[in-house]
């Protein structure tokens, strides 16, 4: 079963890193197939940027996200730009302090930047979001993402990022599991 995930935000929010870690967790620690793609060039540097992950239990032929099953939006511009590309019934996860969703959308809200700031570094909001995603979807094991974090980031920032992941994960568990 093929699933498409798009993580979008503004430059500097770490959406590419988040997509990479998520794809790695699926591909290396969940026995799934996963492909990550991103947009390149000057167009990708300002404004809304995104990373895209396709996961499947069989080889992935077409590597691009066509109609995301999940849209994670960390900025208003990203939400506005990418919401129309997602399935009407897509799972929407939004940065609740930065995004006001359409009234018609039932989005899951996570104050990722605020939670990251509580940990002392707003830069880990992306990893907080991954924690939230992991708990909210149940599509992969917590340990898989933690391993991907440990095997991707420099050792000195791993503890901070594991904390951020745990914070997002627990925030989701405290709320309502939706899938």
């Amino acid at each position: 079963m093929r699933r498409e995930i798009r993580i979008a935000g503004f430059g500097g929010q770490g959406v590419v890193l988040a997509g990479y870690i998520l794809g790695k967790a699926f591909a290396l620690y969940e026995g799934m197939e996963a492909v990550m793609t991103q947009s390149y060039g000057p167009e990708a540097r300002g404004g809304a940027s995104s990373s895209n992950v396709v996961i499947s239990d069989e080889p992935i032929d077409y590597p691009f996200v066509l109609e995301p099953d999940v849209l994670i939006a960390l900025s208003q511009e990203a939400y506005t730009r990418f919401r129309p590309t997602a399935r009407p019934d897509a799972l929407l996860i939004i940065e609740e302090d930065l995004v006001t969703p359409l009234e018609s959308d039932r989005a899951l809200r996570v104050p990722a930047t605020r939670l990251a700031e509580e940990l002392g570094r707003r830069i880990v909001a992306n990893i907080v979001t991954l924690g939230y995603f992991t708990a909210a979807t149940g599509w992969l094991r917590r340990e898989s993402v933690e391993k991907a974090i440990e095997n991707t980031l420099p050792a000195r920032i791993v503890p901070l990022n594991l904390n951020a992941f745990a914070r997002g994960y627990e925030y989701a568990l405290a709320g309502e599991r939706v899938l």
């Binding site: 990479y20 794809g23 790695k24 591909a27 290396l28 197939e33 996963a34 492909v35 990550m36 793609t37 991103q38 947009s39 390149y40 060039g41 167009e43 990708a44 080889p59 992935i60 032929d61 077409y62 590597p63 691009f64 066509l66 991907a148």
Partner: protein
Amino acid sequence: MKGRAILTGEHFMHGDHACTEGAIAAGCRFFAGYPITPSTEIAERMAQRLPEVGGVFIQMEDEIASILAIIGASAAGTRAMSATSGPGFSLMMENIGLAVMMEIPIVIVDVQRGSPSTGLPTLPGQADVMQARWGSHGDYAIAAYAPWSPQEMFDLTVLAFNVADRFRIPVMVMSDEVVGHMVERVVIPPEEQIPRWERKRPTVPPENGFRPFLAEDDDLVPPLAHAGEGYRVHFTGLTHDERGYPDMSAETHHRLVTRLVEKVRRNADAMIRYEGYGLEDAKIVVISYGCTARSARRAIGQARAAGIPAGLLRLISLWPFPEKPLRELARQAEAFIVAEMNLGQMICEVERYVAQPVIGVNHAGGAMIPPAPILEAIEEVATRGARIGRRKASAG
């Protein structure tokens, strides 16, 4: 402290980075290049990695300098590579011929983008595949491979070095922006499982009249003496005799150029790579390569699910062209479909070997051809029969 040359293990890796790791695992210790999207990540990772393993990275003033530097480095005895994209590939063309004529092995990676000219720097294309074969002036032959995944960026870069060294030819890795920029699982095997074909080297000492361009073996490959080994060899882009001396006679020219071309023909079986999906009973055969083959595989899967006997012949080596499997398929197939991100290049090669209708699914580049237009072409052939002559189906 030195870094590991071979990153054995499972990775979630960028295609361009997998290419770099393939090169380093293959023993490449010299890279010269010039930044150009979408191949720049190869140069960047080389700049990081080569110093870790005692290799040399140099950013040259242009792609002409880059190809000369790798030919010079290889002449000195090191496996050497450059990576580029269309505009830089064009600049390298003249000296592909120099490497052919001097029989100095090199590997060039072309991460193809939308072209011609500056085209679409950040978006894919597959329109350099004929240039890879014919871009330099004169008669010559080379090998070229088209990876369809980051895993093959690794594997085929290793193969490219082996083929280049064993047969003393330039070898191209004809990637594309989709594969170069895609991140996917890459398994890097342990060192002992990475194949290594060595250069043929002189077996006589220098004073015994070594003739550097005398090919005595059946494979037509002469042994290669490196700079500084005492053989005092003359290498020239001019037509030369077995001693390496310029010889402006038609007879010597014919003998040399024929050997250079025949060398690749005769050893083609060692260079050719391809893969089939559902070909056993296929009546409609799709031929594709690189990123487009991913969509083609999806399309034939969908066609088979709908009861249409379609199959895929994926070209892994573009050059030498896998003509044997194609000739065999010509005994069973009713029609061929060639899907490629250009306006019809490898289709010309397919048409040389089959009598059946050959239909193109083409797009000028900028976006990967999705499965749908390939499936539509299959369905059309299945329901209405193939029309004679080429049909240009737009993927747009």
